[in-house]
Symmetry: C2
Subunit: 426 residues, 2 copies
């Protein structure tokens, strides 16, 4: 704590953040929303697979479904000759076939009943109603078995995850139409000051348009919250108390603008003290020193300076912490950020092709995901980043440091360093 | 161009992007929206100040408004003694005073008529109905003159700017209730494939739920566009053509999913060719090779693979370029990104205080803004970044390389390198 003009003492940023983290706040409730409206929201329950994925045995290649045992011993010079009994296109019901039969299939086609493997197109030749097979296949070769990727009942997305577009795709593929997420925090914004005019009122000498509340309205929306403008309140104790009490009733978070300094008309912290608790008033930042934070009835109230830049700095510095406290979810890195990581395994690629490899990024390391054949769903969930291999390279080596583009927000419900928000990088 | 299995030729990423940039697309129209709904939108007209800012002469400090000439020669030992004739608080109409008078004022108070300067509180002493002044002030000292920051008619925000919360504050302070922005592009998403079930339909062997369209719906929204799900269309030429023609009529951009490979049921590019123009089909990326782009009736159509990861990669790689082409605005860096910059001037700060300094970032350099006294509005518009000076330092030196947190998207309507989007960093 440092003494200074006007303020008896000022909290350091660290103390201020700690006092937000230690304050006793009500947790947010939940709601069900349509999955397309759930993107960017915080998942409020574990999501389990409602059925196996894939939910039927299917071909992993274009080719001919066969009974594997019929192909044993087949070779270029001594092909197995099978009877072509039909075709199953993607989306069609599986046909039935007996031993000695073959059915033409595409990637994703349901495996015909009686078949247990698929021979790739390039190792077979169609001749009228027969197919020559030039290579043996083992049982279940080139088949994605039912439940191979995910079994019914498996947890596929965890509570606390911030839902991304790919998660919404997964929810759809599992048949979820609505999903339980945390409510959007309702943030009530109160402007204070006798000098303020409402937008649209005629200008008067001595008065200025209340602009901060519109600025904060938009800033609050950027954080995925639901802002609400309370309007302008005069610098009168009673008026301020009524407004703040009403706002606390309506909102999950209350923000006041102005009236936080130490002049005779700076009444906001005093009012909050009369109905709740002030956690700190005055903080060692510039601009934004006369910023305060309090709790009324288990709900947070952030008191910001009326000077526009101080208002925005105080907001950007402290609001993310209030949000973390309220939701229990702390964003450590944002989707779209690029981070450096050391590769845990070599990733090959073809020269001349720009290759996008899904990786799991953690603590400075990137683990490339195996994505061949099946496992599409699970690999999409596990991946949180993409490594882009440029056309001029043939892959990256194990141990190489590469750029990872994050494809989901990285969250933590544990304590993480205060460096989690851009304004707090230093 | 490289030859490969299935595709006669594939465009390089560079060629693909160039062909989007060179395509002949209709520009988006404009609309008026409430300023709070304009945040994140692209400004469609230059915004001019409707009045001077400040719009009245006002005090820049707490103190006593005086007629400057009355204080000439004043000193600690020989104070000027002026008659206290009143007080103007912030928001009050200015009073009138004559020569030899003094009026108590606060920062932001309207300057009383007859006064032309303000003596700071610390150089004055109030004694009953008189004030002793211990220091002379020059005419207009400690006064923010009307129009000092911005003159009526000045351009304050330029067409093409992506509006940020601070801009919305500025628009409010200038009395704008609604503002002209580019329309949100309407993006119609068509799913194709006989194997697709609608979300909510009962599972069948051989079929899978259409999940990509829900994923893209959300991804499209992240780009500030308005997505619309057309639904599922079977792999039939007529059906596809009807769907695409209808979508092109409704939307500003059309996206199709699936049916872009070279199988007998991959009809989408062929359909597009029959009603418009294919700019490329097949691109040197993995996954996502069977991606195509075309133009129908001056509107872009992006044809994506039905494989979820390929679908998302193709989208993230190409959609930003389609958007840039449509809006004429290219985002070079995003708000919230941290960039390194060399300081053009020293910025001092006080030890123990975390200091946030507005800077103008350009081409690797950061120019700190002068923010004392007036110029609040203009400095807020000019600043596009914040440098945070930690508590342990007393400022940064000229030439030092520092982190700049961007507080607005950096846009360019000129040609910039293709490295502008995260997926294209390499």
């Amino acid at each position: 704590m440092v003494r200074m003009r006007g303020f008896k003492e000022r909290a350091s940023v660290q103390d201020a953040v700690r006092s937000i983290e230690r304050s006793n706040l009500r947790r947010l409730g939940c709601e069900f929303v349509d999955i397309v409206d759930a993107c960017g929201r915080i998942l409020a329950e574990d999501v389990t697979a409602r059925y196996d994925v894939p939910h039927f045995d299917r071909s992993a290649v274009d080719g001919y479904a066969v009974f594997a045992e019929d192909t044993f011993g087949a070779s270029q010079n001594n092909p197995a000759i099978l009877k072509l009994v039909g075709e199953v296109e993607m989306g069609e019901k599986p046909v039935e076939m007996g031993k000695g039969g073959a059915v033409k299939v595409s990637t994703g086609s349901a495996l015909p009943k009686g078949a247990n493997a698929v021979v790739m197109l390039e190792y077979a030749k169609e001749l009228d109603s027969f197919v020559e097979i030039y290579r043996p296949v083992a049982p279940f070769e080139n088949v994605s078995k039912r439940g191979e990727d995910v079994k019914a009942g498996d947890i596929v997305l965890k509570r606390g995850e911030i839902l991304q577009p790919q998660d919404i795709g997964i929810l759809a593929s599992l048949g979820y139409e609505r999903i339980k997420v945390l409510r959007k925090p309702k943030v009530v914004i109160i402007s204070t000051g006798n000098e303020l005019l409402k937008l649209g009122e005629e200008l008067e000498v001595g008065k200025v348009v209340d602009s901060n509340s519109y600025m904060l309205f938009c800033a609050v929306r950027f954080y995925g919250c639901e802002p609400m403008l309370y309007g302008i309140v005069k610098d009168r104790f009673e008026d301020l108390r009524n407004a703040i009490e009403e706002a606390i009733e309506i909102g999950d978070i209350v923000i006041t603008i102005g009236g936080t300094s130490v002049g005779k008309r700076d009444l906001v912290p005093e009012v909050v003290k009369s109905v709740g608790r002030i956690m700190f008033h005055g903080i060692s930042i510039k601009p934004g020193m006369p910023t305060a934070f309090g709790v009324i009835d288990g709900k947070p109230i952030l008191m910001l300076s009326g000077f526009p830049v101080a208002c925005l700095v105080g907001f950007e510095l402290l609001f993310p912490h209030i949000l973390s406290k309220l939701t229990g979810v702390r964003i450590v890195k944002r989707r779209g950020e690029v981070v450096k990581a050391k590769l845990k395994r070599r990733i090959p690629s073809k020269a001349g092709v720009r290759t996008f490899v899904r990786v799991t990024y953690k603590d400075g390391f990137a683990e490339p995901l195996m994505t061949s054949g099946s496992g599409i769903l699970t690999s999409t969930i596990k991946a949180n980043g993409i490594v882009v291999i440029p056309e001029c390279k043939e892959g990256f080596e194990e141990g190489e440091v590469v750029d990872v583009v994050l494809i989901r927000d990285i969250v933590s419900s544990e304590d993480v360093p205060l460096s989690d928000h851009p304004y707090q990088r230093l």
